[in-house]
Structures are given as structure tokens and as C-alpha cells.
């Protein structure tokens, strides 16, 4: 494999993205209002992939960055009448800044200690938000926008496109070699010159940046934010489920996982809403037991050609 020329995986992903853009343009509101949430899920999956998927640090608190983005947009739009696009940008920047500050501290923990720290962070953030009357009673901000559904749709579409390209690039570059080394043996990585602290922080900051951006589009699409749902632990678990089901660390896995998790949840929502976490949970357990590399791993093992092509 010549790793400097882009391969089929990237072209394939671009074709899927082109299809998603065409679908929204052709069928308008009806389709885009469904697909916008699929793309938000995908954006969240790619964002957690930078830290948990690539570096292997299990982040149970990734919903924090989504919430930060949601509040950034809601605050700007509802109190300052700002353009929602500016809100998405602010969400991304705040996500990045918070990831930098938090990451400098909690990335010193490893394994289960890191995972616990991420859970604690979300609990703390939730209670902090409730203390600010500026962020609404009970952390609730609702706003009314003349809805032009294609604008948030193409905003999140662009975010996912950037995430795909960046994931693909990182995996193939020098930084990807360092990150995989950290995932496997952090101490051995530093003994050949890799700086785990720096690379982990880069991954965590990318996760914060895109998590914040996706959170902004989420509150844009739902016309508001409420503290309870915004910090819902289920979101973190869904993000983890998506990359585990799709294939951790890969460029194609998060999108596959988003489709698998989102499509059934969309249909189940109307019939058996409570069954959704149960079904996804079972799926994750089955995956963890039998297919640790997710759908991507399954496809790679099934066919020699796919093994070389799928990234």
C-alpha cells in the first residue's frame, strides 16, 4: 500500500457524503430533517473517535463537549440574536478551549482512572450549569428561529466532511503512527521519542472541537437546550456504541456506527422507545465479545481485498 496516495476508503466516504448532499437538495425538508440527526450522530461519533477510538482512552464524558456547544449556540442566538453559524463556531472554539484545560489535567490519569474522571466532570458541569440563572431556570434556553432546515443540515454535513478528511489524514500521517503506539504501549512509545502527553492532548482537543461544533448544530436543530438532556449520560454511551459497532479508530467506522445506531432508533422511537437502549446495549455486548474491531473488522476478515482497502 502506498500510504501517501488517498485510497478507496476516502473516495467511498466522499461518494456517500455527496449522496447525502444530493438527497437533501432533491427532496428538501422532508429528508433533511431526518438526515440532519444522522449527520449529528456521525459528527459526534467522529469526535469521540479522536480520543477513544484512536488513542484508546475511554471517554464516558464526551457529552460534556456536546453540551458546551449546545449552550454556546443557545446563549448567542437567544440572548444576543447572533447568527446560528456563529454559535456553531463558538461551540467549536469553546469545546477546544475546555478540552485543552481539562485535558492538561485528566490525561495524566490512565485506564479506568481516566474513565472515572470523565464521568465526574459531567456531573460537576451539570451542577455548575444549574447554578447560573443566566443559562435559564433549570438550564433551559429555548429560542425561535425562522427555520431554514437546509442551513443546519449543510453545516453539520460540512463538519462531518472535515472530520472524515482529518481522521483519514491523521491515521496515515506521522501523528497516526505515534497515536497507535500510545494506544498499544504508552511507555514504550515514549521510549522511542513519542510524547504521549502532547499527542493525547491533540486527540482530546480535536474531540472537544468537533463535539462542541456538533452540539451547536444539535441545539440549533432542536431550537433549544435543557440541562438534563444536554448532559444525559446516554449520549456519551451512544457515541461509544457507535464507534465500537462501526470500528474504533478507523475512518469509515464512525459513519457505519452512526447509521447502525441511528436508523433503528429513528423507527423504534415511534413504537418501542424504551427498547432502544436495550437493543443498542445488546449489540455493543455482542460486538465486544465477538467482533472487537466492529463492522470494519468483520469486513476486513471476510475478504482479503477489503482488508487492504478499508481504513
Amino acid at each position: 500500500m502506498n500510504i501517501q496516495k488517498p485510497g478507496l476508503t476516502l473516495y467511498g466516504l466522499f461518494i456517500v457524503m455527496a449522496f447525502l448532499a444530493a438527497a437533501a437538495l432533491l427532496f428538501g425538508v422532508a429528508v433533511s430533517s431526518i438526515l440532519v440527526f444522522l449527520l449529528i450522530y456521525a459528527a459526534l461519533a467522529y469526535s469521540i473517535n479522536f480520543i477513544t477510538g484512536m488513542i484508546g482512552y475511554v471517554d464516558f464524558g464526551h457529552v460534556l463537549f456536546m453540551a458546551i456547544g449546545s449552550y454556546a449556540l443557545a446563549t448567542l442566538v437567544s440572548y444576543y440574536g447572533a447568527n446560528p453559524l456563529l454559535g456553531v463556531g463558538a461551540g467549536a472554539v469553546l469545546g477546544l478551549v475546555f478540552a485543552l484545560g481539562i485535558g492538561l489535567v485528566i490525561l495524566r490519569f490512565r485506564g479506568v482512572y481516566f474513565a472515572i474522571a470523565t464521568v465526574v466532570l459531567v456531573l460537576a458541569a451539570y451542577n455548575i450549569v444549574l447554578q447560573f440563572p443566566q443559562l435559564g431556570t433549570g438550564g433551559e434556553i429555548i429560542f425561535n428561529l425562522t427555520l431554514q432546515p437546509l442551513t443546519p443540515y449543510f453545516t453539520i454535513w460540512t463538519i462531518v466532511l472535515i472530520e472524515i478528511a482529518l481522521t483519514y489524514y491523521v491515521n496515515r500521517s506521522r501523528i497516526g503512527f505515534g497515536i497507535r503506539a500510545i494506544k498499544s504501549e504508552e511507555d514504550a512509545a515514549s521510549s522511542v521519542g513519542v510524547s504521549p502527553q502532547r499527542l493525547k492532548l491533540i486527540g482530546y482537543m480535536l474531540g472537544g472541537l468537533f463535539g462542541g461544533a456538533a452540539g451547536g448544530v444539535y441545539s440549533w436543530s432542536t431550537s433549544g437546550v435543557t440541562a438534563g438532556p444536554a448532559f444525559d449520560f446516554t449520549f456519551s454511551l451512544l457515541m461509544l456504541a457507535m464507534i465500537i459497532i462501526g470500528g474504533v479508530g478507523t475512518s469509515i467506522g464512525p459513519l457505519l456506527g452512526a447509521v447502525v445506531v441511528y436508523i433503528p432508533s429513528y423507527f423504534l422511537l415511534t413504537s418501542v422507545a424504551q427498547a432502544q437502549p436495550l437493543i443498542i446495549g445488546l449489540l455493543v455486548i455482542i460486538m465486544a465479545l465477538f467482533l472487537p474491531d466492529g463492522i470494519v473488522g468483520l469486513l476486513r476478515r471476510s475478504n482479503e481485498r477489503l482488508r487492504l482497502v478499508l481504513e
Binding site: N2, I3, Q4, R172, S173, R174, F177, G178, R180, A181, K183, S184, E185, D187, A188, A189, S190, S191, V192, G193, V194, S195, P196
Partner: protein
Amino acid sequence: MPLLQARNVSKNFGGVQALKDVSLDLPESAVLGLIGPNGSGKSTLLNIIAGVEKPTSGLVTLDSKRIDNLRTNRVVRYGLAKTHQIPKPFSNMTARENVAVAVLYGRRNIHSPTPALEEADRILSMVRMGSRKDAPADSLTVQEKKRLELARAIATGASILLLDEVFAGLSPEELKDSIQLFKKLHDELRFSALVVEHVMRAVLSLSQKVMVLEEGRVIATGSPDEIVHDEKVIQAYLGSKNPAA
């Protein structure tokens, strides 16, 4: 002027003193053997030099620059690399990718993966693992994993190698092979090496000088020949000839 120097290095773990006032000099291209019974502080000394642990007191310098306050990955940039006693391959990669990481992050100024992988192939051939380059690292044998450790250390471009028991656990045939390989590599690359080893045959045939540690103290330094005849060394390893004394 010696290349690597340790001066009066001491290390306490809680109440236990693992190293007491240890000093050493490692001149350019020299091979210094470091031996001693279990728990005598050999690995601790190596870890301190490599930046894995900080000394309680004393200092380590490389070309007169202090390195004992640097992290491991910074020490690598100064040209010093350590292998692991228990091999730690990156098991999610092939052998050549393992070595490529070291090429990319060492001090070689190769920053893009394609040339790094080519360089990795060259180094793997040098350590006679050319035929195993595409093998997943976790499928390698113990001997191959030890060679991979050596290949990674060399791949960083290090001028000083700290080798922690790279000859342990090998069959007599493999041991002979590895000693011969080490000599060849040393002739070609002219690195200096600090070799921690339990296998006497390996240390004595590789080192120009041997240092013996016992309970964290240096009890003897000399040529391999002097060391095997040193009374204190024999006593440390085999116990006193006369228990009453």
C-alpha cells in the same frame, strides 16, 4: 571526555535505598557491562539514565548536558534509547511499523511515513528480521521481540543504547547468534552501549569494561577478566567461602 556520565546517583523508594552514590562513565563507542544479583539496582540505574525515573540525588549528563531532569521522550532526542527487559512491542502494528514509529519520532529527521517504512525495512534486515517485517508484532517469538526492541532503539538514531537483558531467555544457539549479531552491529554503527545482563557469557564477551552492583552500590569495576577473579564479586554471587568469617 566521556560521552555519558552519571555522578553520585542515589535513588530511594520510600525507605528502601535502591541506589547509593553510583557513578559511571561511558565513553564514545564503548560497551560497559552492568551486572549484579537480583535487586541490586541495575534496572533502576538504567531507568534513571533513560529518564523513566528521577534520581533522588546526583546527576546524569550527556555530552555535558544534564539529562536527569528530562522525560524519556526528550532524552531520546539527545540520542539515547533504552530497550525493555520485558519486550513491549506495539501489538497493533506490524514489525516494520513498530520500527517506523522509532524512525519518525527519534532524531533522524524523517517525518513522513513512506521513507520511514523504507528505513524500517533496512534496519530490520540489519538485525536479521527482514523476512518478518510484515508479521504482526504480537505474533513474533520471544527472540524476535527482543530483536524488535533492539531495532527500535537503533531506529531512533541513538548513539547510546541502554540494553536491559536483551540476551535473557534465549536458547544457547540463539544466544550465540545474538552475541555475534551485536558485535557486527557495534562494528558497523559504533554506538556506545550500557548492557545490563544476567547471562555472564554475553556480558563478558561483549564488554570492554564491567561494573558490578550489589545492594545499590558499585562493588567492582574492571575488565571482564579482572571481574571474574574479583573476590568481592565472587562473594556477592556465590556467597562467602567461609561462612564463619
